[in-house]
């Protein structure tokens, strides 16, 4: 039975293996082992030696670091593109190609989706026209991301002509992916979303592309949702059109290429008008697609929980396997469509964190913490059957949480467990109240001891201080620099702002929060919002990161209020140009979404969310606790910039409503 279900996936894995080991066009004679002397043979025979030939001659050695090179001819797929000697090792570049990647990776993921049981009744049929329109959106998006695609596609051209076979083939392939995903997923519509925890395992990001398989599928489903156009949908669409028109009319500096790094597939790599427009379209249809799927879902909390547990286990195990060799690491990256390659070492890095398989240690910790919370809820509160396999899964997930070193996720998880335990297992109300009171006092006392080395005022200045400290003050003349240092030490932000706030390298948002902090119009008996933000930032170790955010975020009034464009960080990142070392994110999903949508929409959404969370607050509603857990974590992490977390969040926001809770209990 299981083998029958696995057959399509195994067949695709076999085809992919064949594609990588293909012997067509190889050197016919034997090749020498790779040494310093024979290196030039390999270098001079670019794309003439297959991976199979390389492996049979040289084996898998620690000295070989395998990497993909997508900037190759299609015929170079699965061949050794180039070998570069580095210190004590060789970098072995394996040729790949966008079109083959699209075809092979999608086939595998669609085959895996076929393992899910079909619905008894099929409500919707696949549509060729929907697949066609979706493929046009992604085709234009491919052409709009000039910088990214020029770097990774040898024959990339933005020309829409009958000779541009790369673009034509891309559109055709995306059309087929869209149609095939409709064909397979519509038959499983009522349960497909219950398998979303596996998106943490199979991220669905194509090698060499800034596109995600699940985004393609969801955009297709978005069209289905819009087939029936209600009044609410019409109103929301009109509002969204205004918002997008505003984004398109913002005067901005154009950046052709933004390195999306670990956010590949869910973040724009360019801020051209076309790119902003197409990412807006993708977001619109993606939201509709998610809504369409959730609307047609039959809730099954137990199945969802089992899937979380299994996915968590597999994520940890895959992360461990990926440390075995650079070769396994690379192919796990390909098969699972990871945004970022797994860690090659089992040892922790900066901050004693090990992210393993996932792109960020922080979101890994949140994921594992969430699974542990669900396990506590289902096994201990709801007394669901506990089997040996669950123990094995839990040990792995617990290991993942410890290694991710995500202290905040662990603390929030523990607080939720304690609060729920007190409510469920202490029958006497007086004892419960006493315990809550005792724990609150303990929390306040320990917070006092942790923070007592700072005064309230000093803590409140933390973000503004870090913002100025991280600004490009080195551009100032020596004399000015000394003045600035003296003002910073003395925390005289008002003078600092008056003297240097108008310099082009000081961001508008830093000037704004400095003015708010130092304004004479502040109401004395109310806490200053910037001060509060500083205290919170310092408590959760985000003062420096958020200071850096304000030092870099330089919007005009319009984009501060209504955003710069969905999934676009180019202007945030480059306008002030503070970052030199890789992708440094705002370290708060809320701040990132303020860059995308602006302060007003984000505030409105947060008000709605907090209202609805507390409206649905009930000790029997575990989704209430999960939303609390996620919301608190997202304040200090960038997790909502990953598609997997976006779907996770959307799922729990959608299903938290009381009517849904009633539906569930029925």
């Amino acid at each position: 039975m299981i083998l029958d279900k696995l057959k399509p996936s195994l067949l695709v894995v076999f085809i992919i293996t064949l594609a990588f080991l293909n012997p067509i066009g190889n050197i016919t004679e034997d090749i020498e082992n790779l040494t310093t002397n024979s290196l030039s043979i390999y270098q001079n025979n670019s794309c003439n030696i297959s991976l199979l030939q390389f492996l049979t001659t040289n084996g898998l050695s620690e000295n070989y670091i395998f990497k993909f090179d997508g900037y190759s001819e299609l015929s170079c797929f699965g061949k050794i593109k180039y070998i570069e000697p580095v210190e004590n090792a060789y970098l072995v570049f394996i040729g790949t190609h966008t079109l083959i990647n699209l075809l092979l990776q999608s086939s595998l993921w669609i085959a895996i989706a076929m393992m899910i049981k079909k619905d008894n009744a099929i409500k919707f049929r696949p549509s060729i026209s929907i697949a066609f329109f979706s493929s046009l959106i992604f085709g234009y998006q491919f052409a709009s991301e000039v910088g990214f695609n020029q770097l990774s596609n040898k024959n990339f051209s933005t020309e829409f002509s009958s000779n541009n076979y790369l673009l034509l083939s891309y559109v055709l392939t995306v059309f087929l992916i869209g149609y095939a995903s409709q064909f397979v997923l519509l038959k499983r519509l009522s349960s497909i979303i219950l398998y979303f925890p596996f998106i943490f395992l199979i991220s669905g990001t194509y090698q060499n592309l800034n596109v995600n398989f699940f985004a393609i599928a969801l955009v297709n489903f978005g069209f289905f949702n819009l087939l029936k156009f209600t009044k609410n949908k019409f109103l929301l669409t009109v509002v969204y059109i205004f918002v997008v028109t505003n984004w398109l009319n913002i005067e901005r500096i154009y950046y052709e290429y933004f390195d999306v790094d670990k956010l590949r597939g869910f973040l724009a790599s360019s801020n051209s008008s076309l790119s902003i427009f197409l990412w807006s379209l993708v977001f619109y249809f993606l939201l509709n697609g998610l809504f369409f799927i959730l609307k047609n879902t039959n809730i099954n909390d137990n199945l969802l929980f089992e899937n979380f547990l299994l996915a968590g286990f597999l994520v940890v195990i895959s992360g461990l396997i990926a440390t075995a060799s650079s070769f396994y690491n690379l192919f796990i990256y390909f098969f699972f469509g990871q945004n970022k390659i797994s860690m090659l070492k089992i040892t922790s890095v900066e901050g004693n964190a090990w992210r393993g398989f996932l792109p960020s240690a922080e979101s890994a910790g949140e994921f594992y913490g969430l699974i542990l919370f669900l396990s506590f809820w289902f096994f201990i509160v709801k007394k669901q059957n506990f089997e040996i396999k669950h123990l094995i899964f839990l040990v792995a997930v617990f290991y993942g949480l410890i290694r991710s070193n995500n202290v905040s996720a662990t603390i929030i998880f523990l607080i939720l467990v304690v609060v729920i335990s007190i409510n469920y297992f202490i029958r006497d109300r007086k004892n419960r109240v006493f315990l809550y009171f005792f724990l609150t006092v303990m929390f306040l006392i320990s917070s006092y001891f942790i923070l007592r080395q700072n005064t309230y005022a000093a803590m409140g200045h933390a973000i503004v201080y870090e913002g100025w400290e991280n600004s490009k003050l080195n551009l100032l003349l020596d004399q000015d620099l000394q003045t600035v240092q003296a003002l910073l030490v003395g925390r005289d932000f008002r003078t600092l702002n008056n003297l240097y706030g108008e310099q082009s390298y000081i961001s508008s948002s830093l000037v704004f929060i400095t003015e708010k902090l130092t304004s004479k119009n502040n109401i004395s008996f109310l806490p200053n919002p910037v001060t509060l933000l500083g205290v919170v930032g310092l408590m959760i170790n985000r003062a420096e990161k958020w200071g850096l955010f304000f030092a870099s975020y330089n919007p005009g009034i319009n984009d501060a209020l209504f955003g710069q464009g969905v999934f676009n960080l180019s202007n945030y990142y480059f306008d002030i140009n503070l970052f030199n070392d890789g992708l440094i994110l705002p370290h708060s999903s809320i701040l990132s979404y303020i860059v995308f949508f602006g302060a007003i929409p984000v505030s409105l959404f947060l008000i709605y969310l907090i209202y609805s969370i507390f409206k649905n607050a009930h000790f029997n509603n575990y989704k209430f606790f999960i939303l609390l857990y996620l919301l608190i974590n997202y304040i200090k992490s960038d997790s909502l910039l990953y598609l997997s977390n976006f779907i996770l969040f959307y799922y729990f926001v959608y299903f938290q409503e009381k009517n849904v809770l009633k539906r569930e209990t029925k």
Partner: protein, 100 residues
């Protein structure tokens, strides 16, 4: 080290034992025409064109990164497109016929 595979593919097989490294180290080396060798056109990395009249001359240029051009101009993406397009059309046609 010589790029033997590409050399044989473009220039053909020869028993000429002249070392290409020696040629590269000798700025005054003159290639002699081989009347039995059919003149070949080679293309340089920046689009330059040259006619070669002997196997060793051809081998020397190919070793330096020149190519016959034919190898490079194959448009595999075109093949991919038409193969996929015809398979897609065939699939939908067969499905339509089956439905009838």
């Amino acid at each position: 080290m010589e790029n033997i595979y590409s050399i044989e593919k473009i220039c053909g097989i020869s028993n000429d034992s002249t070392s290409l490294e020696d040629i590269a180290n000798d700025p005054n080396f003159v290639f002699n025409n081989d009347p039995n060798y059919e003149t070949l056109v080679l293309y340089g990395p920046e689009g330059q064109i040259i006619n070669v009249n002997s196997w060793i001359e051809c081998a020397n240029y190919v070793n330096g990164g020149w190519s016959s051009g034919l190898v490079e101009t194959v448009n595999y993406e075109m093949y991919y497109f038409f193969a996929l397009l015809s398979s897609t059309i065939l699939y939908f046609l067969v499905n339509k016929l089956r439905a009838r």
